[in-house]
């Protein structure tokens, strides 16, 4: 009830528009999904602290190096994501380039390709064995140092991996840019570029900042990329440091990972506070009608922009995908692909022999779609509430939501095991070992992803639209369904797709939480690869990409029956 009081004191606050249960509901969800696992972790960590001398981890130089590297790579990755993602989002939603549908559709796929594959593809493309460089005769000698094994390389890969997040967060917001505002600026004499800088970009700022924040937080928590590119170069970041601590399990380990995790949480929180600073004191509400899209004509630059976008797509999508396909067709690493070596054996094995394939597909599809759709039930009320009740509480909740996403999956998974391994009180059933614990962990981990675009959509909405609905007599649910949902539909659509794509490939959370029968695709691919069956792993990855493309294509054919704007690759 502290909530209600703060809002009343605040000038300009309108009478609470939500039902009485909403605040408790949101708080309960957030407690269950975000706070409870963290509490378990801290509790175990505390015990570890007492028993071992894990506090020493804070004084080790390795920890400081890891903090510095984490900050550098996350920031670098964020910048690259923002540049690439914003370039795509702006070109696709505001200019007259051709093939928008294809470009947006394709730009979402890099998230589906496991980062290690992209890394490997790039390493191969630029390395001694590069077929391309070999043909050109400029392949570096065997064993030449790989430029990607560096802070820069990690940043670039993080940037590529998370660019679709920025793209989707931004695109939903751009859909609401007001046409007359753009026109007024042009009539003021501003060139299209100027209009873009002065009007479109600031109005799209909530989306852009949300995208940047999500890219930063994703970079802080990413394990896969620094593991592949950093470890060979002796560069460690906090998630890989945590991983190596886990390797030497001892009495103080929980203490150490709790400490290191709180460092990650602190960095993520700092980033988010920066984000809230950037957004606060600004008003992005569109007054009156909006929605008509502003098209900038690129004129003679159009071809250049189109080529640039295609080149980026080649680097982030086509090349890794080609590498993936190539390695699924040959039996082992290093075997050149030609008519003799090529075979479909791996696909045959995956599709017809491995029993786990089918169950991994079903599990991942179930988990990804339930998480994507189910999260809206939490994210929508939470975004609604946090937008209405701006202030300290909302900001704190915002950060709390973000932390599970920032933590490396393995830490979150450990936290969930600690919380749920014992049978639930009263009900006396154990979630552990069932698919449900993975689902709850996904809810916890991806709430932040789901919330971001929806939040920025709320920020832009003209409040009188909801007021008009209230005066029409529509209660909370009613106006949610009839007015608010359709208005935030583009953002909600982006959220659903985002979570679905990430969850389909998710690895580290489910890696510790799966058990017989609840294997996920990410785990299956990783295990195949880890145990030397690179051909099977690649084949399965290719199949996953194909499946996702098929699903997206299916949605595309249904586009006319879906609410306007929910498919994020459409305009």
């Amino acid at each position: 009830m502290a909530v209600a009081r703060t809002s009343r004191v605040k000038p300009g606050a309108s009478p609470a528009g939500e039902p009485r249960w909403l605040v408790p509901f949101v708080l309960a969800c957030l407690f269950l999904l975000c706070a409870l696992p963290l509490i378990s972790l801290v509790k175990a960590g505390f015990a570890g602290l007492v028993s071992g001398n894990s506090i020493g981890v804070l004084t080790e130089p390795a920890t400081y190096a890891a903090i510095r590297n984490t900050l550098l790579t996350a920031t670098g990755g964020m910048l690259i994501s923002v540049v690439i993602g914003a370039l795509f989002a702006f070109s696709v939603s505001l200019t007259d380039i051709r093939g928008k549908l294809t470009l947006s559709f394709a730009f979402m796929l890099p998230m589906m390709i496991p980062p290690q594959v992209t890394a490997l593809a790039w390493v191969e493309m630029t390395g001694p064995a590069s077929p391309l460089l070999k043909t050109l005769g400029i392949a570096p000698p065997l064993g030449s140092p790989q430029p990607l094994y560096s802070l820069f390389g990690i940043s670039v890969l993080l940037g590529v991996q998370h660019a679709p997040l920025v793209f989707l967060a931004l695109k939903a917001g751009l859909a609401a840019s007001p046409r007359d505002g753009v026109e007024a600026a042009r009539l003021s004499g501003a060139s299209p570029f100027r209009v873009f800088l002065d009007i479109v970009a600031p109005l799209a700022a909530p989306g852009l900042i949300a995208g940047a924040a999500i890219a930063f937080v994703s970079g802080v928590g990413n394990f896969g990329i620094p593991a592949i590119l950093g470890i060979p170069a002796g560069i460690s970041v906090l998630p890989t440091l945590i991983y190596t601590r886990l390797a030497s399990f001892g009495s103080g380990t929980f203490g150490e990972i709790a400490l290191l995790s709180s460092l990650i949480a602190a960095i993520a929180a700092a980033g988010l506070i920066l984000q809230q600073r950037a957004l606060s004191g600004r008003d992005y509400r569109i007054i009156g009608l909006s929605g008509a899209n502003a098209a900038f004509s690129l004129g003679r630059f159009r071809v250049a922009v189109e080529l640039g976008l295609a080149a980026i797509l080649f680097l982030v999508l086509v090349a890794p995908l080609a590498a993936l396909i190539a390695s699924s067709l040959v039996p082992a690493y290093g075997v050149p692909l030609n008519w003799q070596t090529m075979s479909l054996r791996a696909y045959e094995e995956i599709l017809f022999r491995q029993t786990m394939t089918l169950s991994a597909f079903t599990n991942s599809l179930f988990l990804a779609s339930s998480a994507a759709l189910g999260l809206l039930v939490v994210a929508l009320p939470a975004a609604y509430l946090m937008n209405r009740r701006k202030g300290v509480l909302a900001n704190t909740l915002g950060i709390l939501i973000e932390i599970p996403y920032a933590l490396p999956g393995i830490v979150l998974a450990v936290a969930f095991i600690l919380t749920f391994a014992a049978p639930l009180p009263i009900l006396n059933v154990s979630l552990y070992g069932t698919i449900w614990i993975i689902l709850i962990a996904y809810f916890s981990s991806f709430l932040a992803v789901n919330l971001k675009p929806v939040m920025s959509a709320f920020l832009q909405m003209d409040p009188s639209l909801e007021e008009a609905a209230r005066l029409s007599g529509a209660g909370f649910f009613r106006r949610m369904r009839d007015v608010i949902l359709p208005l935030v539909a583009p953002a909600a659509g982006a959220s659903i797709i985002l979570v679905f794509l990430i969850a389909t490939n998710e690895l580290t959370v489910s890696a510790l939480l799966w058990s017989a029968g609840t294997q996920t695709l990410g785990v299956a691919i990783f295990n195949l690869d880890d145990s030397g069956s690179s051909d099977l792993a690649s084949a399965l990855s290719v199949l996953v990409v194909v499946m996702v493309m098929a699903l997206m294509a299916a949605l595309e054919t249904l586009a006319n029956y879906l609410p306007e704007g929910v498919l994020p690759w459409r305009n």
Partner: protein, 341 residues
Amino acid sequence: MAQLILNHLTKDFGGGRPAVSDVSLTVREGGFLALLGPSGCGKTTVLRMIAGFEQPTDGSIDYGERRLSDAARALPPEKRNMAMVFQSYALWPHMTVAENVGYPLKVRGISGETWRRKVGEALALVKLTDYAERRPAALSGGQRQRVALARCLVTSPDVVLLDEPLANLDQHLRKSMEETFRIFHERSGATMIYVTHDQSEAMALATDVAVMSEGRLVQMAPPAEIYARPEGAVVGGLIGRGSILKLPVAEHAPRALGWPRLRDAIGSAGDGLRRDVLVRPEHVRLDAEGIPLEVKACVYEGERFALTLVLPDSQALKAYGDRAIPVGQKANFSISSGWRL
């Protein structure tokens, strides 16, 4: 139906002067209140508090026995059975015109044939029958305003709040909408509160006129009274197109001043305390017996010419004329009545 009572209503947005301060008024059962006042004086804010979108920082709002809002609690808008035309229209961009208009009905569980009939009637009322299937984005400004209007009148609300509902309509549509309001008001008996800048509209429709200025209620009275006997310079200046002259009038003089007194006051030298006297242009007449005044401006208004005259002590006086008088020329005018503010 019941009285709507605003009791020491105050709203402070937190920046300097409160937007609304200490407004107390009672709208009689089924009354039609016109709310006038200069731009930014707090009219919209009062409406928003009545509708329940803003909570008063002080004071209260009651409807009959029922407390609607005070600084501590507020009945949510959806429970108030009110309707409002927003100054910014607030149409839902994702719904067609018919869906926008029919939404309050849908919420009340009305559907099928009844729904179609009622929506059809409301659209016919605002002459938008042909536009039922359009989206708001493909409408002209006035058409949007009419959709908002139709949405407001489609149900049977207890209180109807109209925030400049006719600002974007031409005169004829305006007249016919006024007629619609009048009929709606008579038929439904709803309490209506009407914010407008057009005084003839306000005068024609309202049972009471309230004038606000800088967040405060300055005067509230029936239309004829507020026009004839305004209190203070704010109301005097706002209602009608009168000129406020500073004239030396005795304190014990009656408030309504005739030509002899006015002539004396205008003629007399600058001695004595000068008081505000309101002179309406329709009371200034070309009159051979009058005093000669110079014409400073003469503007064609279609129906007539709006003249600006200069008094000997160079105060400006507005008048109407049937024909143009060249600027700079003198003519004799008399003033049939004035009102000491």
